[in-house]
Subunit: 191 residues, 2 copies
């Protein structure tokens, strides 16, 4: 049995349940704050994400990267947010009939794995902070992604917004790297 668990601080860190996040910047601010706090608390890599209900503009599920602390390479922020949200709604398909549109907000553009995870999640839109190149600049590996990966999403009905609070999000990546944070997933060839 495998358990994906958010760090204990997350519950107390979130604003009161039911608070709306009216703008895309409000929603990204939460993702970036989750990333920053995850670094400060030492619970994982500098990545935060969240799923929002776009009808109510309310938070459905947060996510942070817990790869190292959980011992699971799939435990990226987007995977935590998507899986937690699916647990909340009780379905593997956030895009099922009768559902409101759900949005995935992520502090850094999704890696190759999380891009696939988003496709299968049923979320209808993606909002990104830092770019792939910001993550690569500090040593993280985003994996092989198509040069115009956002088109693959758009073609499948998933709207994409990029560079939302990019500077703030990229600053968290740099802060982590400068603090000597572990850059895992960076193996490029066998030892």
């Amino acid at each position: 049995m495998t358990t994906l668990r958010l760090p204990e601080w997350v519950d107390g860190f979130l604003p009161a349940p039911g608070m709306p996040y009216p703008t895309v910047e409000d929603r990204m601010e939460l993702a970036v704050e989750l990333a920053r706090e995850n670094v400060e608390r030492g619970t994982g890599g500098p990545f935060g994400a969240a799923i929002f209900d776009l009808e109510t503009k309310k938070l459905v599920a947060p996510g942070v990267n817990v790869v190292v602390t959980s011992g699971l390479s799939i435990a990226h922020a987007e995977v935590l947010a998507i899986s937690t949200a699916q647990g909340v709604i009780g379905s593997f398909d956030l895009g099922g009939k009768g559902r409101p549109p759900y949005e995935l907000v992520t502090s850094t553009e999704p890696c190759a794995m999380c891009s696939g995870a988003l496709l299968w999640s049923g979320a209808r839109s993606l909002v990104c902070g830092a770019r792939d190149e910001d993550a690569r600049a500090v040593g993280f590996d985003e994996g092989p992604k198509a040069p115009r990966w956002e088109r693959d999403f758009e073609e499948r009905g998933i709207a994409v917004a990029r560079d939302v609070l990019r500077d703030e999000a990229a600053a968290v990546l740099r802060h982590y790297a400068e603090g000597g944070g572990e850059i895992y997933n960076a193996r490029r060839s066998g030892p």
Copy 2:
């Protein structure tokens, strides 16, 4: 909290622990049998996978697709096998120093998400049964993959073997589809 759990029948279905699987066909046979049994038992989609220790040739962790029964879109066979194996060895990196080489065997070539998951897993090799086109032929969506995706793996030190027991593996896909099995993940545009 999100829980990825193998179906209850899996433990009883596996041969005695410690039995070696000397050849790549032996190892694929297990993945295909897991896929077939998963369909027969009604516990998920027609996909099986496993992680093997290539020094001992022993099974480390099995995986089957439990997307529908778990309510989680990430719950592909490869994700279950990788995560379970990481739990067994107690590390997010199957390729860490001092580890034997680990192999991911999957009854169908990995989708876009699972291709990324494999990259981050630390496994050193990939063995595939049915091809992407066999999955697509019955309606499954493998997601956007590079035309020569196996090169991305090889460049990162992950050896790839394809078409191992392809016919047997593809037969499980067809059997599932002909039986009216649910083809999820097949949304191509918003409703």
